[in-house]
């Protein structure tokens, strides 16, 4: 924990316990989404699926990166991850991104993906709103994650035909162009 790091956030008028709870729930959503996207990716096969696989992989790895980037901030602010992973999963700030009943239904798969990204956008917008001008470090981190979540939404919604499309794919899977600088552990 960083004593002054926490104190200055409190002094700025933020309820740090509420903020930490939001960060833990966001981290839980990233962790569970990483898990579910793994299942979605391995089922992304066939004529439609093989093309989709690449962007699921980008979003999957970037969600893992978001988890990695959030954890240090949680501890700096005096928070902690729950000891029991079941508690952690149930706290996730977004619903579980289940594999559709028909795993070959790529449109259903895309709906799961796009809705999960929309939820993530709401989560980080909320944290940005809470921290803007007050907790500069959490704000920058949340904004970096938000930038990637917004891109993820557009990838999947454009795949569903909502375009035209302003993006092109990442140079390397899960490159995290925004969150990268917050990743203090090696990301390869």
């Amino acid at each position: 924990m960083g004593k002054v790091a926490r104190q200055v956030v409190e002094q700025a008028g933020i309820d740090v316990n509420v903020l930490v709870d939001k960060l833990v729930r966001a981290a839980a959503a990233e962790f569970t989404t990483f898990y579910y996207y793994t299942i979605l990716r391995v089922n992304s096969i066939g004529f439609d699926g093989e093309g989709l696989k690449e962007i699921i992989e980008d979003a999957r790895i970037e969600d893992r990166n978001h988890y990695e980037a959030l954890v240090p901030r949680i501890y700096e602010l005096g928070g902690a991850l729950p000891r029991d992973i079941r508690t952690f999963a149930d706290m996730a700030a977004c619903p579980d991104a289940y594999l559709p009943a028909d795993p070959r239904d790529m449109k259903a798969m895309l709906n799961v993906l796009v809705e999960a990204e929309r939820c993530a956008i709401r989560v980080y917008t909320d944290i940005c709103n809470m921290t803007a001008g007050k907790d500069h470090r959490t704000y920058e981190l949340s904004l970096a994650i938000l930038n990637e979540e917004v891109e993820h939404e557009s990838w999947f919604s454009e795949y569903l035909g909502e375009g035209p499309s302003g993006h092109f794919r990442r140079g390397a899977p899960g490159a995290s162009p925004y969150v990268r600088r917050f990743m203090t552990a090696d990301i390869g």
Partner: protein
């Protein structure tokens, strides 16, 4: 049951929600487009209060895990739209919210709890 007073109209301006307790029951008031709606104030997902929920385009968004409900019907919109039908144990999470008739008269909000 008759209509009970739930507050002043200016306490729930357009685009805002307010959690109130009526006859001991949590009720969420939501104003969309100048019309006030009343729905059950407990989220069926994990039973948490909808205090601090946002409203946009008739959709109330639970602040805890972002389950979403149509304030006109109480129906869960998300994640019901993506939860797989072959996992019936999830159904309890996406139950609808109760909806209550609302009347606004002389600046007071009245809710019929039924």
């Amino acid at each position: 049951m008759a209509f009970v007073k739930a507050g002043r109209a200016e306490e729930v301006p357009p685009g805002y929600t307010k959690l109130v307790r009526l006859a001991g029951r949590p009720v969420l008031l939501a104003n969309w487009g100048g019309r006030v709606f009343a729905v059950g104030g407990v989220c069926p997902h994990q039973g948490k209060l909808l205090e601090g929920a946002t409203v946009w385009d008739h959709v109330v968004d639970c602040p805890w895990h972002h389950f979403q409900f149509d304030v006109r019907t109480g129906q869960n919109l998300y994640p019901r739209n993506v939860y797989p039908r072959d996992l019936p144990h999830l159904e309890a999470q996406v139950r609808p919210l109760e909806t209550y008739p609302v009347r606004v008269a002389e600046g007071e909000i009245w809710v019929d709890l039924g």
